[in-house]
């Protein structure tokens, strides 16, 4: 399959910080989620554990936080993309990370083409989901598209498209 990138519309992404977030994880049946792992909930929805006191929740419906528990919720408007095809080949153009270390279900935060981005490592053959600060969305899409279209290293991927 050829390399393709497309922008995704996702339900609201929430950044949760604070204590006792495991209860929120449990509400998604993800209490056993390890740090830097994510769980797919439904199409385009997931919950990711960034730390003992930090979650990303991308889901329909509401998430209730409690100030009493010192919990804080911040909406994120990240630009989110889906990369189909041999995404590791594309990542090698823009990201220093050794993806041989990553497993399906990993949530990664990496530097990519000079900006920060997060990745949901997919099952083999499935597209990669990546997100970044919304103000860099246009730049990242343009940059990755240009790499796909012009990089001589990705010639094979383009030929697959023909």
């Amino acid at each position: 399959m050829s390399l393709q990138i497309s922008q995704k519309n996702v339900p609201g992404l929430l950044h949760l910080r604070g204590k006792k977030l495991n209860e929120i994880l449990a509400s998604f049946d993800a209490a056993d989620l390890q740090v830097f792992q994510y769980k797919s909930l439904a199409e385009n929805q997931f919950v990711a554990k960034l730390g003992e006191e930090e979650l990303y929740v991308c889901a329909d419906g509401s998430v209730s936080v409690s100030t009493e528990h010192n919990q804080y919720a911040f909406r994120r408007g990240d630009a989110i993309f889906e990369v189909a095809g041999n995404w590791k080949n594309l990542m090698a153009e823009v990201c220093i990370y050794d993806f041989r270390q990553s497993c399906p279900g990993d949530f990664l935060m990496v530097a990519m083409a000079g900006i920060s981005a997060w990745l949901l490592i997919p099952e083999e053959g499935k597209p990669l989901i990546l997100g970044c600060d919304p103000t860099f969305g246009h730049y990242l899409l343009e940059t990755l598209t240009k790499q796909i279209e012009t990089s001589p290293f990705l010639k094979t991927e383009r030929e697959n498209d023909d």
Binding site: R75, T135, F136, S151
Partner: protein, 965 residues
């Protein structure tokens, strides 16, 4: 095709695909897979280029990517390497470094005055008379340099790419291939890198006729192909070896930054030429070059050859020639090699002269004869080819760059690696292993050790497979009374040049290199450094180890600048309101990573548009996108403590819902950032930073949180929150239509924060006065920001609202005398100098920079003051950074300046010596053209000094609305 041989077993050419290209306008035929040099040579064109200095005719020498005398100019590329670059149908080449043509080069006249041009002549000549120097400089520039760059060529940038593996193996010759398989068998990921398009290395050209090895060759190659964990990177070379086993691998497509856990260097050796009179005549070449020419391209090096050798490899080359039906007139053995080889040669009818000494090569345009001496008796043989096999030098750049120590082996007469860094292994001929079967074993053990090392396992003791006989001549240099013994073919360095340099005191290897330029040409000494070291050692009476070698730095091989540059990643940020700005054709400017509207072209000129925006804010209402401000959420048990420590003003006494100016200095008291802090709750603050320092302020705060051990979380929400400033006398009226919030002075006083719905979305509103009017900074989640902006613009239409850009804001804040950190301050400015002593609360027990500021408070020497221009001359407008001069001395500089329509004068801020800061004091500003214009110090704010417009009485406000309506 005069010299094309019958098909060779492993040839790289495709005889079914003939092609034609032109060289100096003449058609040349070849086959797909041919390189320019092989195609030309096959047609009998043995002069492939002219030498750098004397413009002597030159042919093939190494045929291994180091033949810098055979460079070609293509219409779109200079210095195409003829010995390695495949030719394409219809390509057009010309020679480089010629004045005329290759056949008739006027540059060769230089040789007539060669004796006046020894190395280093340019260090002593041309200095007198001085007026002639520019002429000499032009001449030298014209004569020197290779190839021509057309500056109209399109800029080219090749992407860079990352790659990771467990074991990297540099060189896919016999030992490299064996190493790759051995490592891969341990289950690790292997990258096998080779400069050639096909793996095989010397196994495919030195042993091409060795029947016994053909099965081994096939097995090695097919095994490598079948192992999924071996990735071959062909047509690529390791240009640099960096810390933690990072390799810069250059490919045709671009640079690969390859990270490995361990590395095996199997780069082999460079064959070294012999040094004797006229050793540069076309037809004189390294024996390995001849073998590559025959095996890869099926081209005969010559018709009648003489072999000069000091090792078995020379005999093998002679037998390869013989097998191809070429005449080998003699083997000149500089010593007495293993009798098995002599026997084989003699059985093939090749005469062998042992203990021979080469005297000279001769020929007018190319080699025609070789003169040598045996037992003091001179002999001459007519021939058109002389193949030299007198020794090897390690292709050791990756090892040297990794930190390997080399030492000279008198057994092999070769430098060998003796101390390798951790995780680095060497094998094959670079290790002194010359027997082919031993090379396989050496490769296997190196590959296995590298795999075990990266797996953290114990590595076995490595066997020493190095040869027990010399494969290099200890001093393959034969002087001739008439000279012309070339040591460096890139730079035309002769034996006498090095001798002269040493005699003048440049008798250290680094000094000799720099004075003589040996090894400084495009081949970087690959065929000259070893002979240079031998000559220096001999003439100074030192050993090779005492003499040392020059430092091997990246790049190992000339690497295109376009590859080094790589693809440009220049992050660009767009605010949530960018679509609006674009829709009204805003003129954008860069502010750090951001694209911000500089102004909106509503009038005929830039200045008029900016003036209209300023007038709108002063007269009715304007809206500016301030999403670029840094935005930090600070929350947690120690949030108050952190805020108090970070900022010069006390934050702990802020009421919930209050806002406060937030000035940050560094440890030395220098102003580094400012913004507005608001308090959401006891343990939750929200603070803005300047556009340019949001990231650096965030990083610094995070560092301090750790350093101070505070329990607080700081989130950088810069990109997640959109912000806009609605400013002007009618701003309240517009906002009131979009929110239920009580906007009265009592309900929402100046410098207070409120959280409410605006246009249906959750917003944080701060009553601020940066531009000096009633104003509301509205912060909303980025996904809602455009909606709020659009609503404000829609409602504001009735009040002739105008969006305003950075330039209008600069003017508006200047009228208020508000500073911009980084423009009105510099890298040394403290708050006292910025004329903001009110912003420093010394009563706090501690804040960042307090100790410095306590000291600096009493040592103030300069201050930021307001000034107005006294000159009415519109053509005498100072610029920011123009100097202020008094009594011929510089007393300060202009930091901000602009023509205020509201005030009807030119106003500005200047950082000046405190001695000149008294109000009404006269100042002189030096314009860029040198003229001085008068100004005077005035108090700030220039506009609305009592700040009444920021806090308008509601009745007054209502009257204004009525007037506007």
């Amino acid at each position: 095709m005069k010299l094309r041989l019958s098909p060779q077993p492993l040839e790289w050419i495709d005889r079914k695909n003939p092609l034609t290209f032109t060289f100096e306008g003449k058609e040349v035929t070849g086959f797909a897979g041919d390189v320019a040099s092989s195609a030309l040579w096959s047609e009998g064109s043995k002069v492939l280029g002219r030498s750098f200095k004397y413009h002597r005719r030159r042919g093939l020498l190494s045929f291994a990517n180091h033949d810098v005398n055979a460079l070609f100019q293509a219409p779109d590329m200079p210095n195409v390497r003829g010995d390695v670059t495949p030719v394409q149908e219809g390509q057009m080449f010309t020679a480089v470094n010629t004045f005329g043509s290759l056949a008739s080069d006027k540059g060769s006249l230089v040789e007539l005055i060669g004796k006046f041009l020894p190395v280093g002549f340019y260090y002593r000549a041309f200095y007198s008379p001085k007026f002639l120097f520019p002429k000499w400089e032009r001449l030298i520039r014209e004569m020197a340099g290779l190839g021509k760059v057309d500056t109209s060529w399109t800029e080219s940038r090749q992407p860079k790419r990352y790659r990771h593996c467990d074991v990297a193996i540099i060189g896919a010759g016999p030992s490299g291939m064996a190493a790759a398989i051995a490592a891969a068998e341990q289950g690790v990921d292997v990258c096998l890198i080779d400069e050639n398009p096909y793996i095989g290395g010397s196994l495919d050209y030195q042993y091409v006729n060795e029947e016994a090895l053909s099965e081994t060759r096939s097995s090695l190659k097919s095994t490598i192909e079948s192992m999924a964990n071996i990735q071959v990177i062909a047509s690529a070379y390791v240009a640099g070896y960096y810390g933690d086993h990072w390799l810069a691998v250059n490919t045709d497509q671009g640079l690969i930054k390859l990270s490995a856990q361990s590395v095996v260097v199997a780069t082999g050796v460079f064959e070294q030429p012999a040094v004797f009179r006229n050793n540069d005549l076309p037809g004189v070449m390294n024996a390995s070059a001849a073998q590559r020419l025959m095996s890869r391209y099926a081209v005969a090096p010559c018709k009648e050859a003489v072999i000069l050798t000091a090792n078995p490899e020379g005999y093998r080359a002679a037998l390869d020639m013989h097998k191809n039906g070429l005449v080998v007139k003699a083997i000149l053995d500089t010593g007495s090699t293993d009798s098995e080889w002599v026997e084989q040669a003699r059985q093939s009818g090749i005469p062998v002269f042992e203990h021979a000494t080469i005297v000279e090569a001769s020929g007018r345009k190319a080699l025609q004869a070789v003169t040598f001496s045996v037992d003091g008796v001179a002999k001459q043989l007519a021939c058109d080819g002389l193949l030299m096999s007198v020794g090897w030098a390690p292709a050791g750049a990756p090892l040297y760059q990794a930190g390997t120590k080399f030492a000279y082996s008198h057994t092999l007469e070769q430098l060998l690696p003796v101390s390798l860094p951790e995780g680095v292994y060497a094998c094959g001929r670079i290790n002194g292993v010359f027997d082919i079967l031993d090379q396989f074993k050496d490769g296997e053990q190196a590959g296995l050790a590298a795999a075990l090392y990266m797996q953290g396992k114990e590595t076995p003791e490595l066997n020493d497979y190095a040869a027990q006989m010399a494969h290099s001549h200890p001093y393959p240099i034969w002087q001739h009374p008439k000279g012309k013994e070339f040591v460096d073919f890139d730079e035309d360095i002769q034996f006498k040049d090095l001798k002269g340099a040493i005699a003048q005191g440049f008798d250290n290897i680094e000094l000799m290199k720099r004075f003589s330029t040996i090894g400084m040409g495009p081949s970087q000494g690959k065929h000259s450094n070893m002979n240079g070291i031998r000559i220096l050692a001999k003439l100074t009476g030192k050993t090779i180890d005492q003499t040392g070698s020059t430092t091997a730095r990246p790049m190992f091989h000339p690497t295109p600048v376009s590859h080094l540059a790589g693809m440009r990643f220049r992050p660009e940020r767009l605010t949530p309101m960018h679509a609006f700005h674009q829709s009204v054709n805003a003129c954008f400017m860069e502010a750090g990573n951001w694209l911000r509207p500089e102004y909106y072209p509503s009038e005929a000129s830039r200045e008029a548009s900016i003036a209209a925006e300023v007038a709108a804010v002063r007269g009715s209402v304007g809206l500016i996108d301030v999403s670029t401000l840094g935005k930090l959420e600070v929350f947690g048990k120690d949030a108050v403590e952190l805020m108090d420590r970070l900022y010069t003003m006390r934050m702990s006494n802020m009421a919930i819902g209050a806002s406060r100016y937030a000035l940050m200095v560094d440890d030395s008291g220098v102003v580094i950032d400012d913004g507005v802090a608001v308090r959401y709750s006891d343990e939750h603050f929200y603070v803005t930073t300047t556009t340019s320092s949001s990231d650096s302020a965030y990083r610094m705060i995070q560092k301090k949180v750790i350093e101070w051990g505070l329990q607080v979380t700081v989130l950088n929400r810069t990109g997640q929150i959109g912000a806009m400033n609605l400013a002007g006398p009618n701003s309240r009226k517009i906002l009131s239509q979009l929110t239920d919030l009580d906007l009265s002075n009592e309900g929402f006083p100046y410098l207070v924060m409120r959280r409410a719905k605006v246009a249906g979305v959750d917003a944080t509103l701060i009553r601020v006065g940066f531009v000096g009017e009633l104003g509301y900074e509205i912060h909303v989640d980025s996904m809602d920001a455009l909606q709020v902006w659009d609503e404000l613009m829609r409602v504001g239409e009735a009040f002739s609202i105008k969006p305003f850009g950075v330039e209008a804001q600069r003017m508006l804040r200047l009228e208020k005398g508000h500073i911009i950190v980084g423009q009105d301050t510099d890298g040394l400015t403290n708050p006292f100098e910025a004329n903001m002593p009110w912003s420093v609360h010394f009563k706090k027990p501690y804040f960042l920079g307090k100790p410095s500021l306590m000291k600096l408070k009493n040592e103030q020497q300069r201050i930021l003051v307001g000034f107005e221009l006294l000159s009415a001359d519109r053509n005498a407008m100072p610029l920011e950074s123009n100097l202020l001069i008094e009594d011929g001395e510089m007393i300060g500089r202009v930091t901000s300046i602009g023509r205020s329509a509201a005030l009807g004068k030119v106003i500005g801020l200047a950082m000046i010596s405190i001695d000149y800061s008294k109000p009404d004091g006269e100042l002189h500003i030096k314009l860029s053209d040198g003229r001085l214009v008068k100004a005077k110090v005035v108090k700030t704010p220039f506009y609305d000094p009592d700040g009444l417009l920021q806090k308008p009485d509601e009745e007054v406000h209502n009257k204004e609305q009525g007037a506007a309506a």
